[in-house]
Assembly symmetry: C2
Homo-oligomer: 496 residues x 2
Amino acid sequence: MLNAAPEPGLTAARQQAVVAALLAVLPARCVLSDAEDTRPYECDGLAAYRQLPMVVTLPDTEEQVIAILGVCRELGVPIVPRGAGTGLSGGALPIADGVVLSTARLNRIVRLDAYARTAVVQPGVRNLAISEAAAPHALYYAPDPSSQIACSIGGNVAENSGGVHCLKYGLTVHNVLRVRVVTIDGDVLELGGECLDSPGLDLLAVFIGSEGMLGIVTEVTVKLIPKPATARVIMASFGDVVTGGNAVANVIAAGIIPAGLEMMDQTSSRMVEPFVKAGYDTDAAAILLCEADGTHEEVEEEIARMTAVLEGAGASAIAVSQSEAERMKFWSGRKNAFPAAGRISPDYYCMDGTIPRKRLAEVLTGIAAMETTHGLRCANVFHAGDGNLHPLILFDANKPGEFERAEAFGADILALCVAVGGTITGEHGVGMEKINSMCVQFTRAELDAFFAVKRAFDPHALLNPDKAIPTLNRCAEFGKMHVTAGRLPFANLPRF
Amino acid sequence: MLNAAPEPGLTAARQQAVVAALLAVLPARCVLSDAEDTRPYECDGLAAYRQLPMVVTLPDTEEQVIAILGVCRELGVPIVPRGAGTGLSGGALPIADGVVLSTARLNRIVRLDAYARTAVVQPGVRNLAISEAAAPHALYYAPDPSSQIACSIGGNVAENSGGVHCLKYGLTVHNVLRVRVVTIDGDVLELGGECLDSPGLDLLAVFIGSEGMLGIVTEVTVKLIPKPATARVIMASFGDVVTGGNAVANVIAAGIIPAGLEMMDQTSSRMVEPFVKAGYDTDAAAILLCEADGTHEEVEEEIARMTAVLEGAGASAIAVSQSEAERMKFWSGRKNAFPAAGRISPDYYCMDGTIPRKRLAEVLTGIAAMETTHGLRCANVFHAGDGNLHPLILFDANKPGEFERAEAFGADILALCVAVGGTITGEHGVGMEKINSMCVQFTRAELDAFFAVKRAFDPHALLNPDKAIPTLNRCAEFGKMHVTAGRLPFANLPRF
């Protein structure tokens, strides 16, 4: 376990000064500094990395956000923004001499305009709470990450989150119209707007997915869309993963954009079925879940076309949900795949590579071969329509050498993703977990461009430093720059 | 006419030095400096503003683009990038002591992958040429600005162009997967990618719509989408513009996303009909064109739903295209509205404000009242579904005072757009035409943020300087900053 707290004496003096400065501008309830209070903030969803922060702040208002940034700017204290802490790449991992700025208390739905189909919410509002508030108007917020019951819209903005429906409805960047942000200098910017396009540079898009590096979001205007009249899902079985992978490409090539197009291999379906009883075909080497939504006519027409394509692609069995309850049952297994992995394996390591869709079959075959090489099982459950893989490498950290083998396995998967023209992360972000792999993905000039924009917003590098973009020094130490094939030296990451 | 050429002697010496430096790195055919050769580059689609450039360069390759930027960087020469020159906001207006960098010769379709549904093209490729190349695969490139037969994809990227189908299929930013750009320092960056999402900051989105301020695009990867099996268009007549405007909002509120949703008022339909013979109802105060595309079932279902909504909203007559020929005829009038304006009026001034859709009726009523105030006619023909207005103010520049009245009329329209929560430009860009209005739209901190990003890419302000983002000095002189109501002092723009 990573535990990089500096010398205790040094921290205590510094901590006192920072806490005093924060208490001068904030109510006491907004500042936590005792270890017992800050412990819940020591990690996010990438729980293998932990670090107690010097201070946690919990602002109630935008004015308090400005005040916190003012204190940090004056005293040169780094800031780690934090949403609900469900992120999977360590983007909210604290810094020992830094402040965590949690948006948990900025949790009001400011207004919901059913006619304009927009909601204005504070960053701490949970993803699902927006759809719940919009439900009486038959509207909802489309992006639905697995963590949607817990994750916050501010975190979604930071990570550009997706979900099972983003193939048809887009990522966060396609569903957010406007953000209000506070810069490190205390300026308030309104980026984007409710119109089709906004003049000037598209800074809204830059903020979305910027992993807390550019400013603190204090308000988000999201698009709401009409809840489809109906939806049905096909469960199609395949005798091998290659046939299943090709079927995905065929659905898309037929001009169909399913509302969801997810794949689970046999390891995944057998892992999930005893736990969730979703009715999965556990004899199949792979199953595809293909959803159609829209009006009744559209859904019937699309289900018929998808069925024909899947049969033509070699599906060995096809089941179509006959009721909303059955549709939810089919999805329940997919949505519970991660918890199910926790039931059958002491530990798992979730990867997030993305590949061009047409290379799916090839990459799945490659991963299957790696199971033998590394002597570990890997459950593949993923957003097939987007080419966004989530291989779950199963291991037991208590068995000597297993974690190292899992790590090497993960490195091989990412190397394969990059080699076929893909990327090292689809929707989980870079955070601190994949920062070395960024040296593999990008050229020096491209990383320079990222840093130039980062510096434009945060010249003193106080906002979530050392996350998301590796310094050129780091890449030099890591010894890699834009090598788009071959094994990633992922095993050089700090041990835990 | 604007003609701000500096002292001839000064220009000649400087011109000789720059031309010599360019000829040292480029073939002679790539460098134009005689006035007779550079004359065709003196303006773009905003032809009222003209300026001969010092030199025009026409690179054949990316290496030559790098070489041109190198010369300009060394000698401190400003660069105005130029696509096909069809832009309507003066974004490609030359600078007297600057170089025009035309992408006209970078016009190869590098590759087209029908299976992955992408095309990789050079920036000088015409918008329509991409769809023509994709047609044998039943694919096309969706954004379709009016100028699509002539405009280039590089210009589309610079302006984030839309078109009549962008309500359903998005703007350029939603249809470009990757750009390859050369920075002022000569670095080549690949921004974006063919995967769902790319790690790091979303610099692709920043480049799209950046009006040539950040770098030179040398290659663009676009999404191709399946040509819909069929399409039909409804022409609905309304007795007044308010009823028509409300009908637009009702269609959207009913959860329908038409493939196109355009409105023309009576001035427009009467202007167009004698010229195009599109079969328009010239007795109606306004007509709406509502297109459905998709499979036959989808189209029939959507046409039926739209018809019901339009009838419910008070349409006085409804006609549905009965053949592809009739569909094209209905659209021909809309697509030829600008040329038709040129036939009935010596001059016209095209505005490009965008408003929240639900304010349409109110803004149209406001514009009608302004016709009386300013004593000029205004034809309204626009992307109603997007709330993107294109009022065509008709005037005769040869009649004393008419241009000034047209300008004041335009200013009032933009002021109304901003007052109802809209923006000063939808898809034509800011260029030099609307640069003062940017002071009205944005706060000082927001303009600062734009400039910080601009400087991150172009520290010496050589790329299309003085376009798109006003300096704070300019706003101070202009005397306005973020006044979101009241009359814009648009009449302070340079006279022509």
